[in-house]
């Protein structure tokens, strides 16, 4: 056996023993996700166990170095782990902005102390992070950050407001863009800092969306003390960190286009509408659209994998994340339009047990943010035109 085959056999055996039956199969409600943190909630005790086991092994962040609690796997090993997890339909052990966004930025820009302090607890799901980027006046024009950090010697005093802060009301810590040099050009006076959401002066207010849910918050900072040791990267060069992190965020949002977790669309449609004598979905127009979407989705999964391979081989431009984000988010919107068409009148229910309180409709509405959050589709297209196509004046 090759090393990789041995690794696959060992991984399969370990998962067989350690992945509880309760965490296998599609996640049928996004609210059942495991986010960890200081005050975690778990759908079942098995979900807690699953997070802890995977975290202890570093497999919640398989490719991070072992010295920071990660799995220390090679890219090929991580792919094997991924395929073995998919094979048994394992749910994600831990959903985490720490893993998807902050961690990669800390690995690139953080000090040794910061990495040792934050990364292991991110891997184990002991800390939940939120992202303080957007502001009321800094949406697509993200670098127009106005939240101020005033230098007080060994610390800063932060004042200002963030918006669209995902799960700010549930997060333990925030990674946040603040203006440390108001006189500098807008991209050059920003710093990237970390602080505890329990610090006096931090308040959050959930925003009710068209889905009726409140995954986003307004976040207010009123004389919040931030220690200088919690600056990531160079003072006033936070935009570099922000951009690197955005690339990870965009790849993460793009990944929703892979739709690994849910039931196959064709199956959902067949259960809802039925099949004809030849076993075809009994709505041939919808069937064609579903098949076309599944072609795109399968191709997109390979594009995600290939982008990872290119990054590993240092053949990728960082702006490739914008392409993945653009495509994956638009794909997910299309998928949910078709899920609604598949569900028909049944999918219109907003309340009640049968529809699990309108999960289909609420999820469909939630996806409309995919092409806005993390930079709109139009911003991604601008980035592609400028950095990947070198079009004039872009």
């Amino acid at each position: 056996m090759t090393d990789l085959e041995t690794f696959r056999a060992e991984t399969r055996a370990w998962l067989e023993e350690n992945c509880p039956p309760e965490v296998r199969g599609p996640l049928d409600n996004d609210e059942d996700r495991v986010w960890g943190g200081r005050n975690p909630t778990f759908k079942t005790p098995a979900h807690k166990l699953w997070m802890e086991r995977m975290g202890a092994r570093g497999w919640t962040a398989p490719e991070w170095p072992k010295e920071y609690g990660g799995g220390g796997l090679s890219r090929e090993e991580a792919k094997v782990l991924g395929s073995e997890l998919r094979r048994i339909g394992a749910q994600m052990a831990l959903s985490s902005f720490g893993i998807w966004m902050l961690g990669p930025a800390l690995l690139q820009f953080g000090t040794e102390e910061q990495k040792k302090r934050f990364l292991p607890e991110i891997v184990r799901g002991e800390i939940r992070w939120c992202q303080g980027y957007s502001e009321p006046g800094a949406g697509s024009d993200l670098a127009n950050v106005q939240t101020k950090a005033e230098d007080k010697g060994d610390h800063w005093i932060v004042n200002g407001q963030k918006i669209w802060t995902s799960y700010a009301d549930k997060a333990d810590w925030i990674f946040c863009l603040v203006r440390t040099d108001p006189a500098a050009p807008k991209h050059l006076g920003i710093s990237f800092v970390l602080f505890d959401m329990a610090t006096p002066g931090v308040t959050t207010k959930p925003i009710t969306l068209i889905s009726g849910k409140s995954p986003f918050c307004e976040t207010f900072f009123d004389d919040v003390r931030v220690e200088k040791e919690n600056l990531v990267g160079t003072l006033n060069r936070g935009w570099d960190v922000a951009k690197a992190l955005l690339a990870h965020e965009r790849t993460m949002i793009g990944a929703i286009g892979e739709a690994g977790g849910g039931r196959p669309l064709g199956q959902v449609a067949t259960d809802s509408i039925g099949s004809d004598d030849e076993g075809r979905l009994d709505d041939l127009m919808l069937r064609a659209r579903v098949a076309e979407l599944e072609i795109d989705a399968a191709a997109f999964r390979l594009a995600m994998e290939r982008a990872g391979d290119q990054m590993k081989a240092r053949q990728a431009h960082p702006a490739i994340a914008s392409m993945l984000k653009y495509y994956g988010s638009e794909l997910n919107k299309r998928r949910h339009e078709l899920l609604m068409a598949a569900g028909g009148a049944e999918a219109l229910e907003w309340e009640g047990e049968r529809s699990r309180n309108g999960t289909a409709a609420r999820d469909w509405l939630r996806t409309k943010a995919n092409s806005i959050e993390g930079g709109t589709s139009e911003v991604q297209l601008n980035i592609i035109a400028k950095h990947l196509l070198q079009l004039p004046g872009a």
């Binding site: 979905l281 579903v290 290939r306 391979d309 653009y326 297209l381 601008n382 035109a385 196509l389 004046g393």
Partner: protein, 373 residues
């Protein structure tokens, strides 16, 4: 396996791109077309393709080929898509070479594989019959006669059929499909060249009481379906690669135009309306490429889902290349409609490649069936 080319594969790509841009750029296609060349394809170029090791890329080394895999065949096919070069590569070097390598008898292999690999022979696969690719609805019949078979039927879209040294014909036998190696000079074989929209080459082949010996059978009687499907899937994945080559080249030409053409006192590439369309197209092309290398690698690895991966690649690459050539003509404006500019040639080639071996709809249908809806 990372979804990127290895160093050796990258070298092959550079060699194929270099060879074709030097020896068979688009001017080569134009010359064949405008001189109304009797063959529509250059035998000398095919020979040179053999000398470079491209013609026999998938043919085993013991038969004079390079003994490489689907990914390498796709690399050559993509290069051919870029330069729009008429070449027997798809018909002979991919489809027929695959049938003979997988199912040919020792005699059949010895007779044809070294000659294909050397670029000396053209062997055409005759599958399609109606307007659309439908290998499951083949009507050509082979009845037992004497110690052999008698073939009747009509084939179309037979790549390079008018210049073929041998034909591989798919026909119905008692309980299944059988592949026959047929000499085009056999009595009852009528071949008519079809001059196609893209100035590439195909033929209609009519078979009337064509008698062949039992040793004309490739593989087993009634057992040709898997053999054919294996070759078709390799061909489909290579067609996807050619579509990527043609689509991307049309896109590159268009990007250059956006960077240089001025209107309203500005470079037209400064207009956001065009930037966003170009950026969208770039994304689509990258995704089609990933699907294609994924399919080619799946074929090489013998993965159980390889056929589905091939359908994903062919459908996606087809739709994307179609978008690329439409945008190429539209963004060029009036000159895009002229014969003098190359973009129209890409549009024509992409239409043909889209129809070849199953269009996006054909492969979408396979996706639906494989997922059970």
């Amino acid at each position: 396996m990372p979804l990127i080319l290895t160093e050796e594969q990258t070298m092959l790509k550079e060699a194929a791109d270099g060879f074709l841009s030097e020896n068979a750029p688009i001017a080569h296609l134009r010359k064949l077309r405008d001189s109304r060349d009797a063959d529509g394809v250059s035998r000398d170029l095919w020979k040179a393709f053999g000398e470079m090791g491209f013609a026999g890329v998938i043919i085993p080394e013991e038969h004079g080929g390079s003994g490489l895999g689907a990914v390498e065949a796709g690399v050559v096919a993509e290069a051919l898509g870029r330069t729009l070069t008429p070449s027997p590569f798809m018909g002979s070097g991919v489809l027929s070479a695959k049938v003979l390598t997988d199912g040919g008898s020792a005699e059949q292999q010895a007779a044809w594989l070294p000659r294909i690999a050397a670029g000396e022979a053209i062997v055409s696969l005759a599958v399609d019959e109606g307007a659309k690719h439908a290998p499951s609805r083949i009507a050509t019949v082979a009845e037992r006669a004497g110690n052999g078979f008698k073939l009747n039927g009509a084939k179309g879209f037979v790549l390079d059929g008018h210049v073929a040294d041998a034909l591989i014909v798919a026909a119905l036998t008692e309980t299944g499909l059988t592949l026959f190696l047929v000499d085009p000079k056999t009595q009852g074989v009528e071949i008519e060249r079809t001059v196609m929209v893209d100035a590439h080459n195909a033929a209609r082949v009519t078979l009337t009481d064509v008698e062949v010996d039992a040793d004309a059978v490739i593989g087993s009687v009634d057992g040709g379906e898997d053999l054919l499907e294996g070759a078709l899937n390799l061909g489909r994945a290579c067609a996807a690669a050619s579509l990527n080559g043609a689509g991307d080249q049309a896109f590159q030409v268009t990007l250059e135009y956006l960077r240089t053409r001025q209107q309203f006192g500005k470079l037209i590439g400064e207009f956001q309306a065009l930037q966003h369309r170009a950026a969208h197209l770039y994304s689509e092309i990258e995704i089609a490429r990933a699907a294609t290398i994924g399919a080619l690698q799946a074929l090489d690895a013998g993965k159980p889902n390889a056929a589905l991966a091939v359908s994903v690649a062919k459908a996606k690459a087809g739709r994307v290349a179609e978008l690329a050539v439409q945008e190429a003509v539209q963004m060029h404006g009036g000159v895009g409609m002229t014969d003098e500019f190359d973009v129209g040639l890409f549009m024509k080639r992409v239409r043909v490649l889209n129809e070849l071996l199953g269009d996006a709809g054909f492969h979408q249908e396979r996706m639906a069936q494989s997922q059970g809806f």
